[in-house]
């Protein structure tokens, strides 16, 4: 369980490996804010290796998206499996984020 950060075409891509839950949400927040403080403005969080997200994980994504927008940037999400899409739809967070089917789609036109 963890996060890996890479750069692709000027976009910071964060892979969530395992779960994004109350126990590790702060680690994701710290990693992304470090990049934001370092001047990065374009972010994709990729969930192709993610099992599940709880409400704390959803909350940290909302919080990070707001902070990035305040700095003139954008946070996109990609590669949500059926379960994760269900959670975003139930909570109506699918209306708040740009959600791409794949990492490539998320990076396109960024």
């Amino acid at each position: 369980m963890g996060f890996s950060v890479s750069k692709q075409n000027g976009v910071t891509v964060v892979d969530v490996e395992g779960q994004l839950i109350v126990g590790n949400r702060q680690e994701l927040k710290t990693r992304v804010l470090e990049e934001l403080d370092g001047g990065e403005r374009k972010f994709v969080v990729d969930f192709s290796q993610t099992g599940y997200i709880d409400s704390s994980g959803l909350g940290v994504l909302v919080s990070l998206s707001k902070k990035i927008r305040e700095q003139g940037g954008e946070l996109r999400l990609s590669s949500l499996n059926e379960d994760l899409r269900t959670l975003f739809e139930l909570t109506k967070l699918d209306t708040l984020f740009r959600i791409a089917d794949s990492r490539e789609d998320a990076l396109e036109g960024f």
Binding site: V22, Y52, S55, V62, K92
Partner: protein
């Protein structure tokens, strides 16, 4: 076959995932309902445990969270109890309304209610009972 599991763990957010996995390991007979276990029960139970650790016990490791799970036929019942003073679940606003959807918190109870068939609190508000029915022949859909 009916089975029961009782466990207690310290109020540490890092212990929540292990507690959830320990409960799910006791549900092998429910494999036909993999998605309801993987999504509905796992997320619902995680939310209940998170609320108990964070808000009920205030992350005080000296205060344990108690989990009791009973599998009876096609029904899973989980009771989560913390040491806190409780809260009024009716006072929690709907996180999906336009004025609330961009808030960072407040989705835990909503997800429990959406993903499980029944969610009951005791009068004090420090004990929540979750019920998920694994109806025969209904193993794929996520809606509770």
């Amino acid at each position: 076959m009916d089975s029961e599991l009782v466990l207690e763990f310290p109020s540490d957010v890092r212990a929540i995932e292990q507690a959830v996995e320990a409960v799910l390991r006791r549900c092998p007979e429910c494999e036909a309902h993999a998605r309801k276990l993987r999504l509905n029960f796992r997320v619902g139970l995680t939310e209940a445990l998170s609320n108990a650790v964070l808000y009920g016990n205030g992350e005080d490791p000296s205060k344990p969270v108690r989990v009791e799970v009973c599998i009876a036929g096609s029904t899973i019942t989980a009771r989560v109890t913390d040491q806190g003073h409780g809260f009024d679940p009716l006072a929690v606003p709907d996180p999906t309304t336009p004025e609330n959807v961009a808030r960072s918190g407040g989705r835990g109870l909503f997800l429990m209610r959406e993903l499980l068939d029944e969610v009951h609190y005791n009068d004090r508000g420090n004990c929540v009972t979750l019920v998920l029915r694994l109806d025969p022949g209904f193993g794929g859909a996520a809606s509770a």
